[in-house]
Symmetry: C2
């Protein structure tokens, strides 16, 4: 493994291909992404990728897997940055999730899009998905122990919490929020306000 690329061998084609694919997705969306163009950008013929990925979807699945690993990292970082209060740690993960979606939209599209690689067909992808979700569930459980959150199956509560921020992130990337006059510049404020409704509930009696 020489590392340096020679005239013939590339060096680290898988990594280069994934990077090129991410660029293309950022530019043209998942649907507009093309294996041949990715190969072109990697400086290689259009058949070369097949030495490393069985087909186009497998490459996308590999990228999505990286995405989940990155998301997991960012969730952990967000919790740590929030200090030691369990509720604060939980609350910090909502904005962190949305921020991930916005800042790494190509990853997000690949991870959660309707035409994303089927997680039942790529088990290591499903595994890294679960690992990221586990971080949230653990945080929920910790906040429950602290007595700051409703009781109940932490997995279930985490799921519902995830659903809401996921909806926000999705609508945000989709442009649905901007179309409805939500300013993109004060994302933090929006999430905070949404979280308030979320935590206190929608009933009038609660406020």
């Amino acid at each position: 493994m020489s590392g340096a690329k020679t005239a013939y061998h590339h060096g680290d084609l898988p990594r280069t291909l994934k990077a090129a694919a991410l660029e293309l997705i950022a530019e043209h969306g998942v649907a507009g992404f093309t294996l041949r163009e990715a190969a072109r950008r990697a400086g290689v013929t259009h058949a070369a990728p097949y030495r490393h990925f069985p087909d186009k979807t497998a490459l996308l699945a590999a990228i999505a897997e990286d995405g989940f690993a990155l998301l997991k990292e960012q969730m952990i970082e967000a919790a740590e940055a929030a200090g030691s209060d369990p509720l604060a740690r939980f609350l910090a993960q909502g904005p962190a999730y949305v921020r991930f979606a916005v800042e790494h939209a190509p990853y997000f599209r690949l991870m959660f899009g309707f035409d994303a690689p089927d997680k039942t067909k790529y088990e290591s992808l499903a595994r890294s998905d679960n690992e990221a979700f586990r971080v949230l569930v653990d945080t929920v459980a910790a906040a429950q122990s602290g007595g700051h959150l409703v009781k109940g199956d932490p997995e279930r509560i985490g799921l519902v919490a995830w659903l809401m921020v996921h909806g926000i992130a999705h609508a945000y990337i989709d442009g649905a929020l901007e179309r409805r006059g939500i300013d993109s510049s004060n994302l933090e404020t929006e999430i905070a306000e949404g979280s308030r409704l979320f935590l206190h509930g929608f009933f009038d009696s609660n406020h």
Copy 2:
């Protein structure tokens, strides 16, 4: 306009094409949908669709527009079926939304997928989107007048409510719920439980 199809002219090709496209999307997803195959199913050459839609995306946009009209109908029906209590009417729309997503998944994918037609480029699509959303906002406003819901901009509250059910619907179609052990058969129960958390909030003090 004879209505009956002759040897040459089809009769109502646009409608037939949209129906064929929906079938294909149900079978192979949006990414797997092909203009040529849709034309084939409609019994017409692959260039014929271009007499009615400028390109592939325009056909998809037209279908998505139908989808929003259908969603609007179902939201209205759900509210009416819930009787006259404003809160009950509001609560009924959550499950109605998720049910629409599940029962009309092809529409839903087209309406809200990442690679869905750009709503800023198809204004009549954006318009029918807004009309459906308006139904929800009006219901929120009515529930607020009844004093059963937190005060505040009904548009904002409706948006947050929409985000959550949207997250549920999305995760449901994506298979994320099934992967996490949520049984698909008791959808109603799941939504009800989610709504409870949603309405009462996540703080322990509320319950």
